[in-house]
Symmetry: C2
Subunit: 502 residues, 2 copies
Amino acid sequence: MESKLQELKARLMEVNDLNMAGALLSWDQTTYMPPGGAPARGRQLGTLAQIAHEKATDPSIGKLLDDLRPYEESLPYESDDASLIRVARRDYERLTKVPAAFMAQLQGHIATGYDVWTRARPANDFKMVRPALEKTLDLSRQLANYFPGYEHIADPLIDFADYGMKASSVRAIFSQLREKLVPNVRAITAQPPADDECLHQHFPEDKQLAFGLEVIKRFGYDFNRGRQDKTHHPFMTKFSLGDVRITTRVKENDLGEAIFSTMHESGHAMYEQGINMAYEGTPLANGASSGVHESQSRLWENVVGRSYGFWEYFYPRLQAVFPEQLKSVPLDTFYKAINKVQRSLIRTDADEVTYNLHPIIRFDLELQMLEGKLEVRNLPEVWRARYTSDVGITPPDDKDGVLQDVHWYGGVIGGAFQGYTLGNILGAQFYAAAMKAHPEVTGEIGRGEFGTLHRWLIENIYQHGAKFTAGELVQRVTGGPLSVEPYINYLKTKYGAIYSLA
Amino acid sequence: MESKLQELKARLMEVNDLNMAGALLSWDQTTYMPPGGAPARGRQLGTLAQIAHEKATDPSIGKLLDDLRPYEESLPYESDDASLIRVARRDYERLTKVPAAFMAQLQGHIATGYDVWTRARPANDFKMVRPALEKTLDLSRQLANYFPGYEHIADPLIDFADYGMKASSVRAIFSQLREKLVPNVRAITAQPPADDECLHQHFPEDKQLAFGLEVIKRFGYDFNRGRQDKTHHPFMTKFSLGDVRITTRVKENDLGEAIFSTMHESGHAMYEQGINMAYEGTPLANGASSGVHESQSRLWENVVGRSYGFWEYFYPRLQAVFPEQLKSVPLDTFYKAINKVQRSLIRTDADEVTYNLHPIIRFDLELQMLEGKLEVRNLPEVWRARYTSDVGITPPDDKDGVLQDVHWYGGVIGGAFQGYTLGNILGAQFYAAAMKAHPEVTGEIGRGEFGTLHRWLIENIYQHGAKFTAGELVQRVTGGPLSVEPYINYLKTKYGAIYSLA
């Protein structure tokens, strides 16, 4: 058994290495690659992905997984070996159920569709992408149908990102959340908007970057195993557990942009850096799910990074970095500015309170499309109607409406949006559990100390990597199932105070 | 035949893509990778190399090459298709003659030996690396013996880097060169040394970098298809014909370091950038040989970049960048400083006149080792003796003696050094041919214009990539075989003027 397990690990490591090489090629593509490198880079990424797919679906892996089943069953569920075999089997089954020819067709179509979208969005021309999007919907349904036995056709697609979740369970959670959120949004936006003028002065890039690095170093992001570069869209990527990088972008007329994106990506990165190093190169060296990953970026960006305590410590430092711009701006004004709530069109720019309305709308619409109840040609209209009813604002065009997010144009329809809102919910739930175990965390944050919180997260979440599903993790960490209550309480307490609500 | 050729190209492209991915991983390793990434990066490079080797030696490639032989023979030698098949066959035969298990053993040994050398050199401890070097010699001989039928045991190893050259032909050339060089070195070094104090002031890094970039942009290095980063050792690397990068290093107390390394690497890079774009991803998308590659780095660095005409144009610019440091230094003083000839210990720091003595010594010694006439344990002593007799200076230790170059410790013994001197010879020979065709080049260089020279090099050398061997290329370009005369004439004319020799 020992030699079969070694053989399995060696084969998975090979696949991992190919995927990590691909990740570096992608990172370079968005950071340092000269323009002339683009055509070959796309081809090289395709070659690596194809070889990785061939190796990951090699029948010998299936045979090893079968042979290892008795060994797996002889071990405790939580043991590293059993978990590795279990997660490897899940991956293998997912990959082998989809014919390679279909995957190639899908990827080819997505590449084309994405390319069209990059031109259609600035041109505000939904018609330009409609045929591609219709085909994407068709292919997304086909993809789901390779996993028969589902309750809802979106389930397999949701399962890819958030293993164990289903359309029905996500819907139930989202409807609870929406019910609470919509009145809150109404109550807050009925008040005069916060003044965030202080964030829109001129803030030189180098100083913004240095401040962001100082913050995440204090958080516990390990620069010995990471670095930050600039890209058009911020992201986290990893090439091994010893090399987990983040990127950011800076707007010199918007102080919030770089600082909060840096905190956000550092949350993703600290999760990966916190995974047990013994899992390096195995399928356990990943986050538990899209939602759990997002819970960590949101926890560090919002729950910590937009808290009053955090800025009690850091605001004097920020004022020292930008004395001209901020010396006459009181902490309270700054705090309200970075937590300004307003009805807005763009998901990625939305505040904490209104944010979830955006993914929930997308999630509902993609379910309707997959069900065949919403046709792609009616999507822009339905999008506008939902924004009007839920967010209370009507998109004046498709560019900042249905064309705003890359997900449907650079991927399949289904499974990509629920993770954002699940992340917000889970982030608050995990944070509440951390606070229960360590009430001193609040005081520490006010002193710019994050060690207790970071260690608790490593101990309870990060170290396990993909060993547990999101559901198992929530149960272990909080003693109960996923719940929207901590998140609603968090929002009510925080924004109740800012907006003096009842 | 068309479909077989397409199949061959597709298989070669796959190998190319894996190798290019490996090149990017290596580039990142020396530029931006955080220290924590090192262990996994080594493993990932190994994985990519192994998969590339498996795919490159797949018998189906041999079969395709056999099937394509009649097609190849029906085409003119110079046609792209015939050349691609010919060069692919050469590569395939080289790779398949060596058993994969032997290659793995060799690479494992080299990695270990290299690691020992990185500690042995600073410790000035040859004994520490001696056992590894003895094994390297043994393995180098074994490697050569996979290519039976050679005239000299070094021939297969020389052939890897400089296809078509042999120990006997290189020896003949080097002995001609040495005969002419040694008296020249004596005559020059009998005179008072040039004063290069002006280069050893404080020159801020950013200004040095900006000046170097300005120069190579004028040369014709295309930043749309390249970029420069900083590394400990400068190098050129490529990820496709659209992405050919260079690196440099800066010493703030040595103005020559960055400028000349930048020019040197830009020469390598312009060669690669000049290859016919239709060859992208094929074995033709490479330089013709190690010597021809080096001819281009040397041509741009030395023949152009250390010429009087070049600095007639650029020196006033350099003075404008560093007015305090250079305003009172006349052009003549600066010109003599950057062309200072002196007996020295370190190959990479040597001037144009003495430089070739260094590779020639190494070439002779590695031949003697491979022949079994020189034992590794006697190497330091023999090294010192040769430096004393040829260079006229005795290394005081092994650190700056036999341990100075990585080649024997990070590779095999044989084949790595002749390319440097062949490059100097070829560079002068090609330049003489360019001047014969375009005598106006001298005047253009004096006006900071390099277009005629660059276009001539693209037309006659660069565009062909690996289509022709070095020997064929010299014949085509100069109408005759490789010859040391142009190089000797170049040195005599240039240094005769500087040192007022008869």
